[in-house]
Symmetry: C2
Subunit: 192 residues, 2 copies
């Protein structure tokens, strides 16, 4: 849906049908799937997704012949949006831009977890997504490192896992999540 200059965005576009009604259904299925994954994780029922989207189960299967196709596309769509977000942060302060992007990244972790679980890491789409993610977010960390705001004995992959893990956890409330995330980022930050 969200168009970005990153390769991952083509994955979603390539599948999208041309006819008007078909495209609408396609979008509705993607939205419904994202919602269902957030709610039920990898076990979300395909028939439930079709129901949410207001289409027949047959339509779901025509657009996404296998469960894997659907999961991959939802995932790619999320990653594409996240990549787009990184571009809009180019003019902010390095450290602030980095943490703002990580905040957005955190929001996408729920879906990502479900997808990873379902696909069991056995998909080459992860490679493409990883590349796009690194291309989008990597520069934010490098910028912060260059101005001495972030420690240099870590790479972007380390940072993503750190934030990913923490945001995937259930907290008592939003305040605790922010507190814990900020403690972890104190481990990343240098100078103050």
């Amino acid at each position: 849906m969200t168009a970005t200059p990153f390769p991952v965005s083509e994955i979603v576009a390539a599948r999208r049908p041309h006819r008007k009604d078909a495209a609408r259904n396609y979008d509705a299925l993607l939205d419904a799937a994202r919602e269902a994954f957030t709610e039920h994780g990898a076990d979300a029922s395909l028939e439930d997704i079709a129901r949410r989207a207001g289409v027949g189960i047959g339509t779901l299967y025509r657009n996404f012949p296998t469960r894997r196709d659907l999961f991959e596309t939802v995932y790619a769509d999320e990653v594409a949006a996240l990549c787009g977000a990184a571009l809009e942060l180019a003019d902010r302060e390095p450290w602030e831009a980095l943490t703002a992007w990580l905040g957005r990244f955190a929001g996408y972790m729920v879906t990502k977890r479900a997808v990873r679980e379902a696909l069991n890491g056995e998909s080459d789409i992860f490679q493409t997504c990883r590349e796009s993610m690194y291309a989008a977010g990597g520069p934010l960390l490098e910028r912060a490192q260059r101005v001495g705001a972030a420690r240099t004995d870590m790479d972007f992959g380390d940072l993503l896992r750190l934030v990913a893990g923490i945001t995937a956890t259930n907290f008592e409330d939003a305040a605790q999540r922010d507190r814990v995330l900020s403690i972890a980022l104190d481990g990343v930050r240098t100078g103050r």
Copy 2:
């Protein structure tokens, strides 16, 4: 199984049957269930668990009438073992004792995740487990805080979530996991 002075250990003991063969089956089921949860997460099939344990499905249901009963008991058993581990660290250096225990804690997170997912947080056993965990691990953090090794603007709950989140993530290799965990703990540590 593992006997500790913590209330949570009674949950497992209370269920354990008295007759010899029944007790053996009970233990085998618990082991098989822990293994299955580690491997397949919350979706582990009960029939598969019975098969692994070498007992009939009927035996599983007699011991654990509902899926919830089985999950709760496995979880309680893990927590009891973890509580026991904390007691054995009383004579170590404060910071070292804390990190050693957190390392052990990390090992139990896989099962814990599966159980939490299955029970959807809707069980009062979590309350009991939380209390036992805090009673066991809390003093380790307080000790480290008292000698100035750990920051004081956080509590034990924050620390558990921090470690729990990170260890629940998939890393490229063990080295990366340790690196990330150590970065996060740098955020906790004070004075060097």
